[in-house]
Amino acid sequence: MTGVDTATGLSAATWQRLRTGDLGVLPVAVVLVLIGLVFQALNPHFLSADNLVNLTQQSAATGVIALGVVLTLHVGQIDLSVGAVSGLAAAVVAVGSVQLGWPLWLAVLAALAVGVLVGSIYAALHTRLAVPSFVFTLAGLLVITGLQMRVLGPTGSVNLPFEWWLVRFCQTAFLAPATSWVIVALVVAGYAAGRVTDRVRRERAGLPVAPLWQVVARVVALAAGLSLVVAYLGTNRGVGAVFALFVGLVALTDLMLRRTRWGRSVRAVGGDAEAARKAGVPVRRVFVSAFVACSTLAALGGVLAVGRLAAANQGSGAGDTNLTAIAAAVIGGTSLFGGRGSAWSALVGILVVQSISTGLTLLNLDQSARLVVTGLVLAVAVTIDALQRRAREA
């Protein structure tokens, strides 16, 4: 009744886990740090607190969309219309609140409802008619883009007043230093408490436990990492409210994916839907939840984008929002083949994409270079994904 025992077994296991992708987002996080160092070497402004604050603020909206993509990829499906959904949501918020005079909160709710509706339609198409998701979401991309134009009307662009709470929340709201530190303390304490309780319960149950120093090391690493981020960003404007919201959503999704029944069924369905059905998983409901969550997060991303730009136009959610969000999820290490990945890949992935974009802009390279480099990184990520899948099956 022992688990993994010897030290040699552990290191061989680590190598195996790297090869098969079981280390999760860790390797990509290392790549992110490397990217930061390279750009810093090329332009000393890159790692400045000012630039990093901008970078985090710019990541949030598309990051939220990427988080939804992570969920559809998890169940082995894809939603190619997330950018369009975010654009439509942006249009609904702007037109509803500015032109139709709805209260802003109502316009935001309406936009989110659009997301729920789109996701439900996709889910119905998938579970009832078994249409492959890349086809109907591609159709959805066209339909929704058309709707977005219709909603925006002939002017094609609607501006939001700068003093509205949504705009302030997305542009100028930052966590007060005290608030940031309280959150850091709570997160670290919560994490440590969880780890320790888990360890005690495992010991009582006679199950193998990780050595105590590992628990301590993890807690210290978390505390140090978070403190570093908060302290460094704090030398500038601090942690943006919208970025904090994004990270909070990622953490919540991560908890749900790893530690709840729903999360387990999501991974099971993505791994082998028929096996999951035979095991008694409500497969249909799982697909519905994934598609609805994805579209709703896409809509939320659109809402945040309106706030950030203080405007919605025909370009909202067009072209590269879609590709960036999907690329971020994959670059962050969520598998295209279903059943594997992590909510954190949305955060790490979007930071990689946004770093490349910001870094190249600082080097005075234009949009074209950004697209080429991001495309190449995506190609590398997909290749690694495929290789890891092969290693797992070997």
Binding site: G3, D22, A276
Partner: protein, 243 residues
């Protein structure tokens, strides 16, 4: 005798022109081990599917405790106390052993999963089967065929089902694991469960079954008392060769 826990009455199932099951009757009682034997393609897996909700028969009825039920889904069957081990095992290769064992029936503590309880119980279940897995936290993809089969069998034992239906449970098991499995089946019978298993191994079947049902080309081709039937008689019924 009381009504069988699980029964088929006049069940047929076709895949297009292929008639996989034709008018099959079958009963499984408590305290009883029923074996279903037959050549490749005889319809055994289709029969198991009909009994466990993996597929819905074209005609005929499935009865639980004598009353007709519609097993629209394996989870429905599971809810009625019918557990299954499918020939393809129905394990998710990307999930680890504990995750697979409890899939769809996870233990919870509040809103979150109770991994500790599940992991502890997983070891107990696997030890019952003398199953040797390196760790219950490795993905099933990293296990051998026999280890996977043991995991699938262990999963069917969770939650005290009344009937356990196993499709070729010993196909990939080693000698020792087969022996443990057969002992386990006897224990299940003593504890009052009904067991239905299919097999290609006449020796295993004769060792453990009370009753042997032969399927041939989708039809029942005889029902035998395991204690009074010879190997040759079974072989003749399976192959359809008259002596």
């Amino acid at each position: 005798m009381t009504a069988p826990i699980l029964a088929l009455r006049g069940v047929s199932k076709s895949y297009g022109a292929a008639r996989a099951l034709v008018d099959v009757d079958l009963q499984v009682h408590a305290h009883e081990v029923v074996a279903v034997i037959g050549d490749n393609g005889a319809g055994k897996s289709t029969l198991v599917g009909a009994l466990t909700g993996a597929l819905v028969p074209d005609e005929g009825e499935v009865l639980v405790d004598g009353s007709p039920v519609t097993l629209s889904d394996p989870s429905v069957a599971r809810g009625l106390g019918i557990a299954a081990v499918f020939q393809d095992l129905a394990l998710c290769a990307n999930l680890d052993v504990v995750e697979n064992l409890y899939l769809g029936h996870e233990a919870q503590r509040g809103l979150l999963l109770d991994e500790v309880t599940m992991e502890k119980h997983a070891w107990e279940l696997l030890n019952q089967l003398a199953a040797r897995v390196p760790s219950v936290r490795v993905p099933v993809a990293a296990l051998s065929g026999g280890q996977r089969q043991a995991v699938a069998i262990a999963r069917s034992l969770l939650g005290e089902p009344r009937v356990i239906v196993l499709d070729e449970p010993t196909a990939a098991l080693g000698l020792r694991q087969t022996a443990e499995f057969l002992t386990l089946v006897e224990r299940l019978r003593e504890r009052g469960h009904g067991v239905l298993l299919t097999s290609h191994s006449l020796a295993d079947v004769q060792a453990v079954a009370d009753r042997i049902v032969v399927l041939r080309l989708g039809r029942t081709n005889g029902e035998f008392d395991a204690a009074k039937t010879s190997y040759e008689e079974l072989l003749a019924a399976v192959t359809g060769i008259q002596r």
